[in-house]
């Protein structure tokens, strides 16, 4: 099937400006910043609170969608792996899964900690973390 158009629900604002700066995963990141949600989705944010961990899907707009094999984490000693067997940003649909700690909620702005994605990354979904 043709998958319908994704909507951009917001954008990431942080101090990660190059891929070299970006932590390999959210679980080793101390970067703080904000997610600015499009005000038309304000209702959908109701219930997100400081202290929660949220699961965020973002669209890695700088990723190469044509890549099929990579060296996991750049380690050539382990050989090439298919991108579906890795967490590489390079993949046909470069959607990142991150977990961020909510520090504060101000209207349509989420202040969070744990960024592993670049400043300016479009966000496509936010979910409750499974308990």
């Amino acid at each position: 099937m043709q998958i319908p158009q994704l909507e951009c629900i917001g954008y990431v604002h942080n101090e990660i400006h190059t891929r070299e700066q970006a932590p390999k995963n959210f679980d080793c990141s101390e970067y703080t910043g904000t997610i600015e949600i499009d005000p038309k989705y304000l209702d959908a944010m109701d219930g997100i609170q400081a202290g929660q961990t949220i699961v965020v899907l973002s669209w890695l707009h700088k990723a190469d969608r044509s890549v099929r094999k990579v060296y996991p984490r750049g380690d050539r000693s382990r050989g090439l792996h298919g991108v579906f067997a890795t967490r590489s940003p390079a993949r046909p649909n470069p959607i990142a899964i991150s977990e961020f700690q909510v520090l504060r909620v101000e209207g349509n702005i989420l202040h969070v900690k744990g960024f592993d994605v670049l400043n300016g990354t479009p966000v496509v979904d936010i979910k409750k973390k499974i308990d």
Copy 2:
């Protein structure tokens, strides 16, 4: 920004034919079945093996994208929550995150356990689970 078109990388085949049959989450599902990957992505599957847990993103094609508030898990006693504070399939971009156990790999067919999505659901990404 306008997010580029998602590619469907494969489809789910299982015995979940109605939403009532579908487990609320992958972590409470015993359903087995297959993910049939488009053969053009065969290279990208290299490294997926029996015994692994894979993280699968799928497009919930039956979900209502216009819903902004829901009763979490249908429990009205807890009041309405914004969809971003829940795991409801209803949300602007209905992308599910599931974890499945790989039982067997046969070419472009992944035999897995743990389905929480309907038969026929399009798959958009597969990732390694973070150790």
